[in-house]
C-alpha cells in the first residue's frame, strides 16, 4: 500500500470526512521521483466543529503519528467544518516551494 493510501485510509476511518484530498507534493521538492515525503491534506469533517485549529491539527498529527515519526517529512494541513468549507468555496492555499533545508 502506498503511503498516500495509508494516510487516506487512516484519516477516513478516524474522521469520516465529508471531503478528503491527500496530495503527494514530493515532486515540488528536491527528492527522487516517486518519493512519498511531502503531503498536503485537505479535510472537511463535522468532527472539527467547535475545535480550535491547533486541536484539529493535533488530531491529525496523532492519527499519523507513526508516519510522521518515519517517512513523512512535511505535512501541510487544511482543516474545515462543512460550513467553513462552503464559505471558502473549496479554496486553500498552495504549498510553498521547498528551499532545500534538509529534514
Amino acid at each position: 500500500m502506498s503511503l498516500q493510501t495509508v494516510i487516506e485510509k487512516k484519516l477516513s476511518d478516524l474522521f469520516s470526512p465529508e471531503y478528503l484530498l491527500v496530495e503527494n507534493e514530493s515532486h515540488m521538492h528536491n527528492v527522487p521521483a516517486g518519493s512519498e515525503m511531502h503531503f498536503k491534506v485537505q479535510i472537511v469533517t463535522d468532527s472539527f466543529e467547535n475545535q480550535t485549529l491547533i486541536n484539529r491539527h493535533r488530531a491529525i498529527n496523532n492519527a499519523l503519528k507513526e508516519e510522521l515519526a518515519g517517512p513523512i517529512h512535511a505535512l501541510s494541513m487544511h482543516t474545515f467544518t462543512p460550513d467553513e468549507w462552503a464559505k471558502r468555496n473549496g479554496q486553500v492555499q498552495d504549498s510553498p516551494p521547498c528551499q532545500g533545508g534538509g529534514k
Binding site: I54, L68, A69, A74, M77, Q93, P96, Q99, G101
Partner: protein, 108 residues
Amino acid sequence: MDVMQRIDDAVKSNPVVIFMKGTPQMPSCGFSARAAEALISTGVEFSYVNVLTDPEIFENLPRYADWPTFPQIYINHELTGGGDIILEMMQNGQLKGVCEEAVAADKA
C-alpha cells in the same frame, strides 16, 4: 543547560518566537519562510531560533509541545501553531492582534 530548559527559556522569555529552518532573512524551508513573513507582516518584534544550527533543539523540540514538525510558533508562551495555522490566522486577520496582545502582556 539542559536542552528542554533552553527551549523553555526561549518560549518563556519571548512573547513571540518562531523555531524555524534558517532565519527570517534567509529561510531554508518554504513553510518556515512563509510563517516568518507572516510574523514580519504584523510589524511586531519577534525572536527566532534557527533549528538547523542547533541540532539538539532540532531533535528535541518536537517533544517539548508534542508537535512533530517545523516551523513552530509560540505566542504568549504557548504553541499557537505550525506554518499552516499562522498563515490562516494572518489571512483571517487575527495574527496581528494576537501578537500585539502578547507583546503588551509581556511588558505589563
